[in-house]
Subunit: 477 residues, 2 copies
């Protein structure tokens, strides 16, 4: 027994010693100003992790409102919610920016099925955003499987009267899953435009995901320049069903696939961006903006896409106020409307900003889910990019190692100008496309600490950009 | 409609551009040898992500065998499974190392309850490993809440006949959750030993987690030098119930807490480490070992703790064989038995290694869950530590930024000697203590890609250590 006790205590001890290495900054290597920054950043993290509000805000948004597709009742409710919650945080001013948004509705749940060897198979599909409906009786046709738009184009009129099945999967060897998304999403966006041209009857597209499961992933599509009479219905098929269908087509190349959907695009609807700000104490005429998008697809609760970005953006302001950090420039929080199918809110915000001659010096967007922070993607001029990269020693103790150059996000990029520094928040990407645009994107998939670490990471880079890009405005031409 | 199409396509485009930045190594800055290494590491990752076996192995281990507490039927089955699966991978030799292990059993499901204002509350608890049972009728007593062993000791005989309730929570401000664990676990390990001394009737301990939920977390405890007649029963209480109890104690400090458990420690049982190896082609008398632990606590399926470490360790060998990478030294895979409550397997492996004069040059342990890789914790001499840190440019494209000095793991640390380099695999820590030692540690909590990225990360550092520490054996005294 004695030996046992010794060993088990030893095991605990070893574990504790092995793991008890909280990464800290060696303050010898920091300037006195950096020590202040390091202390403030620690305060922001401590505050988010012990008194963060984002998780309960997210619960409210996702579970009491739920899906928020542009033009929907949920989207309208989320605008009211957004204004209310910004006021509760005590921003200096809060207002709504009216914007007309597309209004596409899914209609009844889609149906898809085919029969192989006398056995009927039900297929999980969902209409793609902006797709037209099938005829009420649905579509029944043979299926041609292709792996790319080029392969489809090469078929030409051979696809007439057929359903074209785009089945190029994610490249799983890409470490950042958004690279895999970028390598596949042309099938979803342009598949129907390409195949409508050649008289295909419909298009089904493999879901945009690394995961093999039964969740179809919706998302926006476009008919491009296609004349309206050539529009054909298009839907996503789950990755698992795509694999099975591909196999079944080898067994019976002339199997008849049936699908039915009743979606439609209604006239544009009125909606709003929700905007709030904390007035800057030194140069309030300069703006630092942080935001995410309030709208979501209609299948889940819009938790990771982009409820997390919304609550994290507001938590930046909350953390500033709570810790009495007063921004030099005006800190603006924006809940953008309609990122998913139109980015009308983003365009409207940029247009108004230009009209009002607002001088944006920096922007930060969170629209890549609420997982553990990894860093930021920097879209700025060389001087400012190097400045942001010099903060690595302040940020890396929080797991923020990745400060590469890259794009920012769809909602803030219309603000792009030579001296505006735009930043995209980069959380861990591995699970994001398990949930993206599906009924699986729900509150329970978000981890409280991961979400709060994201808020604190965002508050930290906003704190640094506000402080140091401010003095860099002298660089402006 | 035109404008809409343009905008939605733009949004997609921006997203794709923003995110499509797969991090690659600038091969200009690499030596020709490093280019070979970089290529081999890419091969290991590609292979794990497209043809990895770890996820299906883990499904089999966790869902067909399940819990594997030392001495249990599950542990015995897992040994047979481990030997079989190692043979399937085609290791050069596979064998079992007999070892006697502690055999503690939980018995019937524990019960805990108290009444406040006439309302009975049922409390989620679980006995701690090695705890004795309560009397068959259970224990009913007043509760004294404390926050530390010191506070408990200061109570002295005031705790006689009472239940002592250790309720110091995790420090949520610590970024690495294992630091928070290390700062609290003394309550669980030593609480009963301290309070038994002063005649307390029992001890309940707040669960070791950041999460506020209803899962009690078991784990090992020790009565230390306490004479057996002073042993008192001890259990973990869920974090949510701990918060409620603490509040209720303020309302009624003399409330009577009842708990009942029927666990017992049986005589030691025979068990095994499972060991396999690929013979080294240059210095087979040198060993590089990689492992995790086969046993688990009895409440869940032992998925993150430590099923993931087991399947990742074996996948290192699988990836070497599949890609025809032949280790210079003998690569040994070890499924250690009894890490959780005794580390008997670890001691036995180290003792046999010493007896057989095996020259271990490096070891790697995975026992911190299966989440996204962040790096490795290095326990080696200065020269070798710096060598490992110089590989950062090869590893950081895979998110492996963290190569700090630190401990390795409970199972390999008995191999520690001046020139042995021991490494602990460090995945993201944020969710680990949501599952650790609970009924919630199940297969569905593990993400396939995250698991496979871990296998590839481990294979990569093993590849580098095998190649470069090999030539460094000249450093040996």
């Amino acid at each position: 027994m004695k030996r046992l006790i010794f060993l088990s205590s030893l095991s605990i001890l070893l574990f504790s010693c092995a793991q008890k290495q909280e990464r800290t900054i060696n303050s010898d290597v920091l300037s006195s100003e950096e020590i202040i920054d390091s202390t403030n950043i620690k305060t922001l993290f401590n505050s988010a992790l012990t008194d963060g509000k984002s998780y309960e805000w997210l619960r409210d948004l996702t579970q009491n409102i739920g899906q928020r597709l542009s033009g929907s009742e949920g989207a309208a409710k989320s605008v009211i919610w957004g204004e209310k919650i910004m006021r509760e945080v005590g921003l200096d001013s809060v207002w709504l920016q009216p914007v007309m948004v597309p209004h596409w509705v899914r209609g009844e749940k889609e149906i898809a099925t085919y029969t192989l060897n006398g056995m009927q198979k039900n297929v999980p599909i969902c209409a793609l955003g902006f797709s037209i409906a099938t005829p009420e009786s649905g579509i029944l046709a043979e299926v041609i499987e292709v792996k790319s738009l080029e392969e489809a184009k090469a078929l030409g009129n051979k696809m007439e009267g057929k359903i074209v099945f785009f089945n190029r999967p994610f490249d799983d060897t890409l470490i950042n899953t958004s690279s895999a998304y970028g390598g596949c999403v042309d099938q979803r966006v342009n598949g129907a435009a390409v195949c409508g041209e050649f008289g295909a009857k419909g298009v089904i597209v493999r879901s945009m995901t690394n995961s093999i499961d039964d969740f179809p992933h919706t998302g926006t599509m476009s008919y491009g320049d296609l004349p309206i009479e050539k529009y054909i219905p298009t839907a996503a098929i789950s990755s698992k069903a795509a694999n099975i269908l591909s196999k079944d087509l080898k067994e019976n190349p002339s199997l008849q696939f049936y699908f039915k959907q009743s979606c439609e695009t209604l006239p544009d609807a009125p909606s709003f961006n929700v905007v709030g700000e904390i007035k800057g104490i030194e140069t309030p005429e300069n703006f630092v903006v942080v935001g995410g998008h309030l709208d979501s697809w209609d299948l889940g609760e819009g938790a990771h896409d982009d409820g997390t970005g919304i609550v994290q953006s507001l938590e930046v302001a909350y953390l500033f106020k709570k810790n009495n950090i007063k921004p030099k420039n005006t800190l603006r929080i924006v809940f953008f409307m309609n990122e998913e199918n139109g980015t009308r809110g983003a365009k409207e915000y940029a247009a108004l900003s230009k009209m009002n001659k607002e001088n944006h010096i920096a922007g930060l967007e969170s629209d890549f889910g609420g997982h553990t922070p990894r860093g930021f993607s920097i879209d700025g001029n060389t001087v400012n990019t190097q400045l942001l990269q010099s903060w690595k020693k302040l940020l890396s103790p929080y797991g923020l190692h990745d400060l590469d150059k890259g794009g920012s996000g769809a909602d803030i990029s219309p603000l792009k100008e030579e001296n505006v520094t735009l930043v995209g928040y980069k959380p861990d990407s591995q699970r994001y496309f398990d949930y993206h645009h599906t009924s699986n994107d729900t509150f329970d998939k978000v981890n409280k600490r991961e979400l709060e670490l994201g808020s604190a990471s965002m508050a930290s880079i906003i704190y640094l950009m506000d402080k140091y890009l401010y003095s860099n405005t002298a660089l402006k031409p």
